[in-house]
Symmetry: C2
Subunit: 324 residues, 2 copies
């Protein structure tokens, strides 16, 4: 009997590299992490991945010939023609021939995309987006980004910059300064950083709020504190969540009207708030979108967490080799 063929998913971050063996159904056989070696502008990373892969194959007594290939996500701008990385600031790569280097180091076929897109593909294949071919996966973390999938394919755009939803203008005038240099971007009102800023800016005017007490206690308020307080109906916390939900709902409505997606999947640290966030966001999407678009749309929380990237990598190499 033919041994089941595996793929390798690799998700490169600034501190660690997540890796996994994944079977043809998208199930994780085993997963592990290695540290990211940032010395020499990341020159050793592909060698480290190759060595770690060999070790793990040995551990599983699995022959390399039974590996289909590697799908890898990198944080940065990818050149999709040759799988090189234009720039990955956190890694130190500039015009780094990632696909070619990793293929050479491993003697396996390699497919490359950016990490946000792979996470979206992972959610599409095995996570919250399962079954949908038109979906948006938005990640609300320190920043705000998205993977856009249309007709089952990632939308990269002409320069690989599609999905920069965090920089959609949410506040037309008088908005807060964004890292990108402009003001009022969606990121400035819906990221974890923004939610924390909203709480810290105004807690003093709400001595009745739990957030006031929390600040007195630890001289800080976290995004989690805001959502926890909102869950307990704290009016100040609820007002922050409502403001965030309104901005997010309006932006996602505009995306939905343009693309009529089946699913919008919300991931990242902020999504851990669950229904406390999703319910008001859904309310505003309903208010700002067309009835027919709203009817076809499901708003849901990402389910794969940190595994989304490696699973998306597995999907990508399977797709590239026309195995799915």
């Amino acid at each position: 009997m033919e041994k089941k063929k595996w793929t390798v998913g690799v998700d490169l971050g600034g501190t660690s590299i997540k890796m996994a063996f994944i079977d043809e159904t998208g199930a994780i056989i085993d997963k592990w992490e290695i540290g990211t070696d940032l010395t020499d502008n990341g020159a050793n990373i592909t060698r480290d991945i190759a060595n770690s892969l060999d070790e793990q194959l040995q551990k599983h007594a699995h022959a390399k010939e039974e590996i289909i290939g590697i799908g890898m996500g990198a944080p940065g701008f990818i050149n999709f023609e040759d799988g090189s990385v234009f720039e990955a600031v956190n890694i130190g790569w500039k015009n780094f021939p990632l696909k070619a280097a990793l293929e050479k180091a491993t003697a396996l076929p390699v497919a490359v995309d950016n990490d946000a897109n792979l996470a979206a593909l992972g959610e599409m294949w095995k996570g919250a987006g399962e079954g949908a071919i038109d979906l948006i996966c938005i990640t609300l973390g320190t920043g705000v980004g998205a993977g856009v999938i249309i007709n089952g394919q990632i939308a990269h755009g002409i320069g690989g910059m599609a999905g920069e939803i965090g920089h959609i203008t949410a506040v037309s005038e008088g908005g807060y300064l964004c890292n990108c240099g402009r003001t009022g971007c969606l990121e400035t009102v819906t990221s974890a950083t923004a939610i924390k800023r909203m709480a810290l800016k105004d807690y003093q005017n709400h001595p009745e709020s739990k957030l006031y007490a929390i600040y007195q206690d630890k001289q800080d308020v976290t995004t989690k504190d805001v959502f926890d307080a909102a869950k307990e109906e704290d009016p100040f916390a609820l007002s922050i969540v409502d403001e965030v939900a309104r901005y997010l709902g309006e932006a996602l409505s505009n995306v939905a009207i343009l693309l009529n997606p089946q699913k919008i999947v919300i991931g990242g640290g902020v999504s851990l708030a669950g229904e406390t966030l999703l319910k008001p966001v859904d309310h505003y999407i309903k208010a700002f979108t067309l009835p027919g678009v709203y009817e076809g749309l499901e708003l849901c929380k990402a389910t794969l967490g940190n595994d989304a990237g490696v699973i998306g990598g597995a999907w990508l190499i399977n797709k590239q080799l026309k195995r799915i």
Copy 2:
């Protein structure tokens, strides 16, 4: 020598049906129109198309066997699984099996999409979008709609409603009532109807404006009047164009940030204003988008006019039969 194979493009409207023979390169061999018979809820339309096709084939002494197939656009919501029309209000169709009926009437393969999407495909193939695989074609007319092409494919969305860009929220609060029942939609500030309304609403406060004189003369001001006056630097007309351009520029920036398209093609009656509109829109896109997204983007005027639909139809049937 094999006679060149032709396709037939059909673009159905509420008063006339545009038809054309189109060769493999996308060039129009001949085009003609027939009236749209709205009696019996449009039951005779596919028969009329078949008869007209036979007549024209005879006129050109071209055998039906040398026709590849028919690509047809209809104004309404299409069921892409079977090529039927859920509803086309202006025609009278409801759950009408368009593809099946036209295939039966003509004994040719038929591909169907909505008219806005076919116009976008036409511009992609032979018009302003030539060479781009990621593009948005927005039509500014009485209403505002768009065809969205990603990776060379139309984005339909789960319910065929993708591209309803006219209903993106442009004015969050206090906006004008839209036909869709909501307020502040992009259509309410950028359609021909909206531009005319802006002029009529405020001309009385601008007795120095050419538009004031025009109103005195003919008791009306058209969208064309507004752009003509703006071209001659009339301050009131310029202020209207600037307002329209700002709303359009901000909305298109958000679209561009999400999809990083190579081209945004502006068509429809309002696009006849040319640079008088495109220049300020480009200014606002630059202001509201990311530098990398702006660099990759070309804003241009549609070039195919009324031929876009039939040419898009020809592309669609060629594509469906895997000839291009």
